[in-house]
């Protein structure tokens, strides 16, 4: 596809998702209480959008991934949060 075709097919969708992301961050600003590790992780991942090159989706996923390599002693539960809390917050 040409750049024009990509824009015609996906620009409005990307625009809408970007505004949703901005509104989410505004909502976080307005909300009370404390954020957890997910908020800074998302901001760090969002910074990948501004980097040149065609590996942005992969890099966003990498920022949000557990980078360690050893199996954990026991599963703390079944769910996943979408961002890596870090060794000390993982709970096991």
């Amino acid at each position: 596809m040409t750049k024009q075709q990509v824009l015609d097919l996906y620009f409005l969708d990307a625009r809408s998702k970007l505004i949703d992301l901005a509104a989410f961050l505004d909502r976080m600003e307005r909300a009370g209480g404390e954020a957890d590790f997910r908020h800074p992780a998302l901001l760090q991942a969002a910074a990948e959008l501004g980097r040149p090159g065609a590996g942005r989706a992969k890099n966003v996923l990498l920022v949000l991934s557990d980078p360690t390599t050893e199996p954990i002693p026991t599963a703390p539960g079944k769910g996943a949060s979408g961002a890596w809390p870090g060794e000390e917050l993982r709970g096991s």
């Binding site: 596809m1 075709q5 097919l9 996906y10 969708d13 590996g55 989706a57 992969k58 996923l61 990498l62 949000l64 991934s65 557990d66 980078p67 360690t68 390599t69 199996p71 954990i72 002693p73 026991t74 599963a75 703390p76 539960g77 079944k78 996943a80 949060s81 979408g82 961002a83 890596w84 096991s92």
Partner: protein, 267 residues
């Protein structure tokens, strides 16, 4: 359009979904064993489930002309209890000769724990001893990268496993290359909120080519869309893919992988 749904949990879907899939051109549906949304209380619960997907569900699908196949295992979300897993793995061989059983799956990791890893190794050994195909689930979200790496290590360590007889499912941009480089097949799951969106799955096909890749809806009891594969095919058309190239990805690729099991037959 014709397509194969290589990963769907039809036990959690209504009969209308079979009607929609058949109307959209589905030629076969394949059902890996998975978590029921709650932990089963005994091996007997798994025995009943294996009967359901190897006996009852094919009959339900057949009413709409759909061949139904399945994969058996104790899923990674219930693999923290190694003793339970041992008992369930012991039940599986008696089902392997059933006409719709394609292999062992969806096995793998969930939180990347030591016990999950032990149970994964147990399943890989079972598949190797019985010469079965393997379908691997990779973990969700932040656990996927590490879980994919650990899974690849386990498969590589067992010399009996032929890479081309293993499909590693739920790949995304950060895991697809390592799976293909290891010689395995890779599955992309089309979910509305997690895993791959339709445009991203097509991007991955654009970047990595169409060899050894398939797409599935993995529809289950959660937020998921049974017609995700044909919807993605429509988007491929809009992006200029030819009918032959689409047919290769959504029909011939899953057919090629699963035909490594002689029991896989299209109507």
């Amino acid at each position: 359009m014709r397509y194969i749904e290589p990963h769907a949990h039809m036990v959690s879907r209504v009969t209308d979904d079979y009607v929609d899939m058949a109307a959209a051109g589905c030629a076969a549906v394949c059902e890996p064993a998975f978590w029921a949304g709650f932990d089963r209380s005994s091996p007997q619960g798994f025995y009943d489930y294996f009967c359901q997907i190897s006996d009852y569900e094919p009959k339900r699908a057949a009413k709409f002309g759909l061949p139904h196949f399945c994969w058996l295992c104790i899923n990674p979300k219930e693999a923290e209890d190694v003793n339970l897993a041992k008992e369930v793995v012991g039940l599986i061989p008696q089902f392997l000769d059933r006409p719709n059983v394609l292999g062992i799956g969806e096995i793998g990791l969930n939180k990347n724990s030591r016990n999950e890893l032990k149970v994964l190794e147990m399943h890989v050994d079972l598949a190797a001893r019985h010469n079965q195909l393997i379908l691997v689930h990779t973990p969700h979200l932040e656990d996927k990268l590490k879980g994919t790496r650990l899974t690849l290590d386990v498969l590589k360590a067992d010399a009996r496993i032929k890479p081309e007889r293993v499909i590693i499912d739920h790949v995304e941009e950060h895991t697809v290359k390592m799976v293909l480089d290891a010689g395995h097949w890779a599955g992309m799951t089309l979910y509305p909120e997690s895993k791959c969106s339709r445009p991203r799955a097509i991007d991955i096909l654009d970047v990595y080519g169409t060899e050894r890749l398939w797409m599935n809806s993995a529809c289950d009891w959660g937020v998921s869309i049974p017609l995700s594969v044909p919807y993605t095919a429509l988007e491929m058309r809009r992006r200029g893919w030819t009918e032959e190239a689409i047919d290769q990805v959504i029909y011939w690729n899953p057919a090629k992988f699963m035909s490594q099991c002689a029991k896989f037959r299209l109507a």
